[in-house]
């Protein structure tokens, strides 16, 4: 078995980073799912690649402000381009996203290869899968060390960044809960009330981008998508109340992050009954998120497949409602 020291130095920081990444992505992901723009998360997590690589090539490290600013700039550019292609090009939203993010991602891949010529330490792998195992906290050696403030000062940079970003996401969502809700539900009404729906659309893009950038180093760009969408979608199936959905998705996200990491790190050794190589933790987190979503799809008390098919009267009510909508559509 692993020692306390190994757990504190390797597993605890990595797991904390995974949980924080999952929590902040899950929280902002709710607004993507509610706006029926889940794929914007996919688009953004791909489109930030050239910004990250550009920032990296300039500074030569994977940390630091230039990388974050580069990624943020790329995300904003992607958001603006998608909107421009959709509106001025009169293309459907999915196609507009598909064009923008694939081309930007391709640009990032080319930049990586060109940068690799200069022998810098960046490859596509760490972008795609993240590097949870690279997050180390060397200061603590025993549990007692956690009481020492000096140990905390040595907290890994990724964990600190993720904690700050998670805090930012929570503050934004709490402060603008009402505005986010109304611009998601009825943008036309929001506009007539003087709440700029377009501005909030871009604000959501920026918030998603910040969460994605902070998380991508830990879990990788495509698995960010899983954390943006799956917990929110799972919560969506479990409740009809927006605040409940928000906190539920956060809980599911945190659970997925911790559980996925533990499964990836210790699952193989437990299965093998002895020491075994760990599985990719980020992949395991996404897999667990998928398992939870599937469970919700099947067993959710009211909106699950089983519940929908069971009691006859509820099915009939739903049918009636469907008819109402159809007859409305006919009268227009």
């Amino acid at each position: 078995m692993i020692t306390t020291q190994e757990f504190l130095q390797i597993d605890l920081p990595a797991m904390t980073a995974a949980v924080l990444a999952c929590v902040c992505c899950a929280l902002v992901g709710n607004f993507l799912v509610l706006r029926r723009q889940s794929l914007l998360g996919d688009a953004i997590s791909h489109a930030i690649l050239p910004g990250i690589v550009a920032g990296f090539l300039i500074t030569g490290t994977r940390a630091g402000l230039p990388v974050i600013l580069g990624a943020l700039a790329a995300a904003v550019i992607a958001g603006v381009l998608i909107e421009a292609v959709r509106r001025f090009g009169r293309l459907d939203g999915g196609a507009a996203m598909g064009v923008v993010f694939t081309v930007m991602f391709a640009g990032g891949v080319v930049l990586i290869e060109q940068g690799a010529a200069r022998a810098v330490d960046l490859d596509a792998d760490c972008v795609l899968y993240g590097q949870l195992e690279a997050i180390l906290w060397l200061a603590p050696q025993t549990w007692a060390d956690l009481a020492d403030p000096a140990v905390w000062a040595d907290l890994p940079r990724q964990v600190v960044t993720l904690a700050l970003v998670t805090l930012l996401c929570v503050v934004c969502v709490v402060a603008f809960a009402k505005e986010l809700a109304i611009t998601s539900f009825d943008p036309a009404l929001a506009t007539t009330l003087g709440i700029p729906a377009g501005l909030f659309h871009h604000a959501v893009v920026v918030l998603v981008a910040i969460a994605a950038i902070a998380s991508f180093e830990a879990v990788g760009s495509i698995l960010v998508v899983a954390m943006l969408i799956c917990p929110a979608a799972t919560a969506r199936l479990l409740t009809d109340r927006l605040p409940v959905q928000l906190w539920l998705s956060v809980a599911i996200g945190g659970l997925t992050g911790a559980g996925g990491y533990l499964l990836g790190a210790f699952g193989p050794s437990i299965l093998a009954g002895g020491p075994a190589d760990a599985l990719n933790a980020a992949g395991m987190i996404a897999t667990l998120a998928g398992v939870l979503l599937t469970a919700a799809i099947l067993f959710a008390p009211r909106h699950g497949v089983l519940a929908r098919n069971r009691p006859r009267h509820r099915g009939a009510a739903g049918h009636q409602m469907g008819k109402d909508v159809v007859s409305d559509a006919v009268t227009h």
């Binding site: 029926r36 109304i182 927006l242 227009h332």
Partner: protein
């Protein structure tokens, strides 16, 4: 200014017409949907916007609210541009424009009408919740306050929208087909609310699709078919000639629904073949 709370006082705007539209033209791509519309709304009385499908009725409202860009023309609400009069304006969009699966209760939706009053970043306080509940009560929906909106019937959803408009406490209301696809009870509830609003001195402008009930429900009418065909009091404006100009072609005098009890057959049905194309 995002929340124009310095709304002009009643006295300041009393002399100005609730809605004044000049040369309003809206063109999606190339074809005008609304062509050079001029209209001045009267200070009192319920107003119906009437016209065939695709005549630009919803576009007229949306252009007035600044939701679709106009190619040319000006819109004034109580003497000022719409952007400076947001606090005076209430809007009831068509029901199918929103996602009824959204995780919100009826009360949550009605409270949305008060978001501008509450202001940025502040939660919905108890006073506003009570006001929203009172509005739900006025449309007979108090018992459904905590119901998820997707579980309401079409008529109940429409009443929630109406309650939300009431919660806005606006001076000028724009409503897009508030009677569309609702049951008889809702229709009665809606018209009662509209009349209450009128008595309280508010202006109500409704897109209305049912020619039969125009005379019963409304005092003024705006006949629209891409351009403004006619506008004025229902009694003098709604006649065979103006209807022919609005709906086109052969509409006999017997088909015209005049004010009062004896109802003509539904002219909407008779017009159906005409709308498909004039040979």
């Amino acid at each position: 200014m995002l929340f124009p709370h310095s709304a002009p006082s009643i006295a300041e705007t009393a002399a100005t017409p609730p809605l004044e539209v000049r040369g309003l033209t809206v063109a999606y791509n190339r074809k005008p949907v609304l062509w050079s519309a001029d209209y001045t709304a009267p200070a009192r009385g319920l107003i119906a916007i009437v016209g065939p499908n695709g005549a630009g009725k919803s576009t007229f409202i949306k252009a007035c609210l600044g939701l679709v860009p106009a190619v040319s023309g000006t819109v004034k609400v109580h003497g000022g541009p719409v952007a400076k009069r947001r606090a005076l304006i209430g809007y009831v969009p068509q029901r199918e424009t929103v996602d009824w699966d959204f995780p919100a209760s009826a009360l949550d939706v009605v409270a949305m009408g008060r978001y501008a009053m509450i202001g940025w970043c502040r939660p919905v306080g108890r006073a506003h919740k009570e006001a929203a509940r009172a509005c739900l009560d006025r449309v007979g929906m108090a018992d459904f306050a905590d119901r998820q909106i997707g579980q309401l019937s079409g008529g109940q959803q429409q009443r929630v929208f109406l309650a939300r408009a009431l919660a806005q406490e606006a001076r000028v209301y724009f409503m897009d087909e508030p009677f569309a696809g609702v049951d008889a009870a809702t229709e009665r509830a809606v018209i009662q609310v509209l009349r209450d609003l009128d008595h309280a001195g508010r202006t109500v402008i409704c897109v209305h699709h049912d020619l039969q009930t125009v005379a019963d429900y409304f005092d003024h009418v705006l006949l629209l078919n891409t351009r403004v065909v006619a506008a004025g009091p229902v009694a003098t404006t709604l006649n065979a000639e103006t209807l022919r100009q609005t709906y086109g072609g052969r509409l006999g005098p017997g088909d015209v629904p005049m004010a009062g009890r004896d109802r003509a057959p539904d002219p909407g049905r008779d017009l159906a073949p005409l709308e498909r194309g004039v040979a």
